[in-house]
Every structure is written in structure tokens, then in C-alpha cells.
Symmetry: C2
Subunit: 392 residues, 2 copies
Amino acid sequence: MDNFQFYSPTEFIFGRDTESKAGEMVKKYGGSKVLIHYGSGSAVKSGLIAAVRASLSESGIEFTELGGVQPNPRDTLIYKGIQLCRDENVDFILSVGGGSCIDSSKAIALGVPYDGDFWDFYGTGKEVEKALPIGTVLTIAAAGSEGSGASVVTKEEGSLKRDVGSDKLRPRFSILNPELTCSLPAYQTACGATDIMAHVFERYFTNTHEVEITDRLCEAVLLTMIKETPRVIIQPDNYEARANIMWAGTVAHNDIVGVGRSQDWNSHRIEHELSALYDCAHGAGLAVVMPAWMEFVYKHDVMRFAQMAVRVWGCQMNFDNPDETALEGIQCFRGFLRSIGMPINFKELGAKEEDIPVLVEKLGLGEGRTGGFVHLSSQDVATIYRIAAHTE
Amino acid sequence: MDNFQFYSPTEFIFGRDTESKAGEMVKKYGGSKVLIHYGSGSAVKSGLIAAVRASLSESGIEFTELGGVQPNPRDTLIYKGIQLCRDENVDFILSVGGGSCIDSSKAIALGVPYDGDFWDFYGTGKEVEKALPIGTVLTIAAAGSEGSGASVVTKEEGSLKRDVGSDKLRPRFSILNPELTCSLPAYQTACGATDIMAHVFERYFTNTHEVEITDRLCEAVLLTMIKETPRVIIQPDNYEARANIMWAGTVAHNDIVGVGRSQDWNSHRIEHELSALYDCAHGAGLAVVMPAWMEFVYKHDVMRFAQMAVRVWGCQMNFDNPDETALEGIQCFRGFLRSIGMPINFKELGAKEEDIPVLVEKLGLGEGRTGGFVHLSSQDVATIYRIAAHTE
């Protein structure tokens, strides 16, 4: 096991009707003038924004608002948010939405006290020294951004998608009411579930050995997703299944399932170019990329893939031929994704094989290689895209 | 799933040589005058206390010291600690030891700013409003106190063992170096492992249904303990196994495996009377009590015990007769405890059947019942003790 630091100070308020605690929580964490940042009109139409406003007012907290966050959140709205916060002396950002909304909020939070361009922090490793405190009211179980210090945003010019991570960006509190996710259409629900599982797999495929506790915690989240996801596809209103998925989504990404080991994140990197170019859902892109990545790399550690097959997918270990078990596990994953309505190849996603050179170019590896489970060259990435293109 | 709050703000610093960061961490969390609180001479002899002193000095932090914490930590030393902190204007407590030491530190931490007797908070539900900040350097994987807000101490007069819980008592940081646990004798190692597993079981046996994510996380910790504990009994220096156990011990008790559900804690309550009366190790007492408790209550939810048998102990489900599977799981647990050298009956523990009325009397249920998975009367508790006395 590698040495590690684990720090997850976010206070989670989980369950029915918990959005009514937004005001109380903002007050507890010292906010007096809040930016309510949200996405589509659905949070307004559903009455959620009204409920949040009422809760803030009840606690005597002033607020201003900025809606319009899109999936794959854009820098243009972020600049607007930073200016608004400065103009209105906002001291706390309350993000009401899914991962895109929270990631946009984090970008605004680090941009407000920073003299330069907020984009300086994205994809550069530049350390975040200061950020406005943020809280969240989560409406989609997917990104795990409600419990993480990570943020991914898109630069409109050139369709660049880049990320930043810092403990300074961890929400002070996150309000998780599974009821708010019941109205989510099946496709978005499945995209979210895929993202959650991908967050676990990016940590599961490691070159660090003897990290049984983290392996088992990873498998716990995956087994939960395998049980609960098909239930909500069939019964969107199933509170219990929604609740399990929602909490699994947080556990999958606050790094409790990733400590003490090297991690991968290449599937995320490879996917980001797809959602940046085609503006597809991140989860859908992952469904196409991740099994292809697995097929490309599994020979690097057959026993690890066999472990996934046996422990996660319930395959019988083929002791004569572990490769077969490893491949069976990957096929189970793909079959599961198909069963919940995810695309599993380029065509189903709306991506084009002829764009592969462009996708690889944008990833920007050049002659270098990515880090991770297997260090990938541009050529390797092209092969993975091709596997994804040709999957049937 | 029940509504819940989850808040685990402790910063964990995990791995080899991490005790050298004690000074840096105390400074980060605002301490300037520290009480180093520790237990036996072994922390001194091993050079650990010297290393901690050096680290504090390097960071320019003053300190005073109080050793002598015993297993089942006593109120007498706590009163001494409170007085010392007041006399020396201590503003931070650094606990160097196992669960007893940390629990003693928590009692001192809440006692210092409180005008009355610190004992007022124990077993009463009285809310902790203020406490000195504490940090820990953990030397035993067992109690989980390094990541929890709980503290259990013993009043010497009358051998009363009582507990308190509050977010105010959560350590600001905990330094976990598995190397420090390698010198622990096999018996104490096994006692610690039993305590860790008991912390999970107290949460696993719940009346809340449909909490798959928490169930699976519980099982993850248990499966890890079942793999790693026998390894360290045979190879005390196995760093990887020690590391897995140490982190499992923290995960088992910061409540990540307990959220969203009712919990039990009756085995702990029933055990506390044994360790208070006989001054035996808490883990050893649990090894005797917990399987007996399981046998007494399993009919309340046979399928839950069958789930444990199948998922944790790898039993085959007997679909014709789930009771058999449930009982097989309990027998597997007892067999495991015996295999790691734990006592499994009164005689092996040094307890006496004729004391059962005294033990029940001290638990203080009177005509009432405990809460939990099954609400137990005094008579039920007596029966559980009798099962434990007669186990062979």
C-alpha cells in the first residue's frame, strides 16, 4: 500500500426533504451573500429553486442567481459568474444541480479571488490557494463532484475540456435528496450510473498490489450499482434504489475507494475528447471508451481483470486460462452497459471513426505517454478509439 | 434507507514514517502548547515518543506530557490530565497510542473547558459543546477512535464503563503508520481485529432494509479482515497486511459503513460489563459475547444472517433451509475467532457464570429494554451471557 492522505471534510445531509436545510447549512458555514448557481430550467420548474430560495430567506441569507449551466460546463458562463460574484460581493456559492453545475461553481469559486484568468488552473497543475466556499444541492447521481475537490470544464474556443483538483474546492456541505433524482430520464440515469462505475474502475485498475481494503470497497460500490441501476431504469420512482445509487456516487469519488494506490484516469481523459468534440454525455462516452480501454490493457495484469470478473461480475474463475475469465468480465461489463441503454460503440454515440486523428491530436500527447495503469502513447489511444469504433 | 448526516472531517496521514509529520499537523490545526498523552512505556521504549517530541520541537511547538493510560482508561488519570492542561495552558492534545489512549484524550479534551465533572457527559446523552482539539498518532488498529467522535472510559469506583459521542471529539488529524503496529503481540493484534469486525457487525445487523451500499461496504471491511488477520498472526511484520488492517479499522468506525440505517451496539454494551468487571481486553470480551448474541437474535431476521453467511463467509445458501445457512455463518465467525487465538467462552476469557446476575445488574436495564436490532430485556442479556458461558 502506498502512503496517502485522506481528507473528506464535506458534511453530507442525505435523505428526503433535505433541501429545506440549505439556509441553515449556508449559515453554519459562514455564508451571508450567496450565488445560487444552477443549470436548466427543470430545477426552476420543479420548484426546487423556489424551495432553496425560501430556505435561504428563512435563515436571513441574501442571494443572487445565475442559471444556464450546460452539460460540459463552459468557460463563458464561468467568466460571467466570476464577474457577478465580484459585483455583488458574494461570499458563498450554492450549487443546485448535477456535476456540471458543481464543476462550474468550483471554477467560479477559484476564479473570484484570483487576479488572473481562472483557466490558468485547468490542466496545468497550478495550485489553488484560495477559493470561495461552496455548498451543493445535488440533483443527479453521477459526477461525485459533491464530495470531491475536482472540477472539469470546457473552453468553448477550441472545445478543450480540462480539469483541476484541490482540497480547497471540496464543498463545505452537500445536500443529497434522492427524490430529486426520480424525475431523471432513463438515459441520463444510465449515463450517471456509468460515470459512477467508471470512477471506481479508474481506481480499481492499479499497479499497486496488496490494497485489499480499497479493492473490496471498490467492489462494494460496483456490486451496488449492478444491483440498483436496472431497478431505477424500470422503476424511476424507486426511492430506495435511487438512494443507494446517489450515495454510491458520492462514495465512488470522494477517494475513499482510491487511497493507498496508483490510479489510472486514462478512460476519462480519452472520453473527454469525445464529449468535448461531440457534446455527448460524459457517461455515454465512458460506456464506449472504458470497455475498449479494458480490452486494450487487460494483458498488463490478467489476474486483476480476472478478480474483477469473479468478484464483481460473478464469473467462475477459469484456473486453466485466466485470460478467458478476464475477457469474460469485460464482456459482462459491456453487456451490463447495453442492458441499461448505453451506447457501446462510436456509431451509437454519434462519433465518427474518421475523426480519430483529430481526437488523438486534441488529447495532446504528441510523442509522450499518459501516466496510469498502462502508459499510453498517441498510437495506443488511437487503437482504443478504433476498438470502440468497431465494437458490435 | 433512513435520512442521515455523514461528517468525517479528520485528516488522515497514512503510511511509513508519518509520525514525523506530527509537528507540522499540530501547527496546521492551530496548536501551540500540546499535551502528549500516551499509555504504556512501550511508546517510550520504542522511541516513538522521542520521535514525536522531535517533530513538535522542529515545528516550534511546546509540549507537556502525561503517560500511564491503561486499557479500559480510568477516570482518575483523566482528572489528572484535565488539571495538567489547565495548569499548563494546553491548547491541543496529541494522543500517541491505541483506542484507550485516544478515548482518554477525548475525555480530557471535553473536560478542560467544562466547569463541572467530565463524567457528566458519559452515558447520559448530555451534549458536548466545547472541547480542546485533538490529534492522534495511532499505535493499535482496533478501536477506530482515531476517526470517530466516540469515547469510552471507566470509572474506577464501581467499575462503570460508559461512553459519549460528539462531532466535537473527532480528531483534527490522525497519523496512521502501520509499522508501529508490527510489534504488537499476536493476542492484542487479534483482539484489535475482533473489535474492528464487531464495529462492522453492530452496523450490519439492522432493521432498515434496502441499504445495499452500506451492506456492501460492511462486507468489504469484513472480507478484508478475514483475509489479512491470519496473515499478521503468522507474520507479525507483514507491512501490507498490517496496513490493510489499520485502514480497515478506521473505515469500520468513522460511520461510512453505518449510515442510513438503524444500528445495534448491544454486543458492545454487553461486553463492556465483562471488561469493566474482569479488566479483560475489549476485543476478547467481544469474541465471547458477539457470536452468543448472534445465536440469540438470528431468528429475528434469518435472511440477514444468511446474507452474512453467504457474502462474508462464503457459505452456500441452503434455499430449503435458510436457518441452517444463518447458523453456519455464525459458526464460521466463531471458528475464525478461535483460529486467530481469541477466547470464545467465559472460561477462556476468565469470566464466571455465577457472576452473570452481577453483570446484568450493572448493565442497569432493570425492567426496561435496550434499543437495537432486537430490544433486549435483562433476562435476554442473562441468556446471552449463559450462551457465552456454555459455548464449547
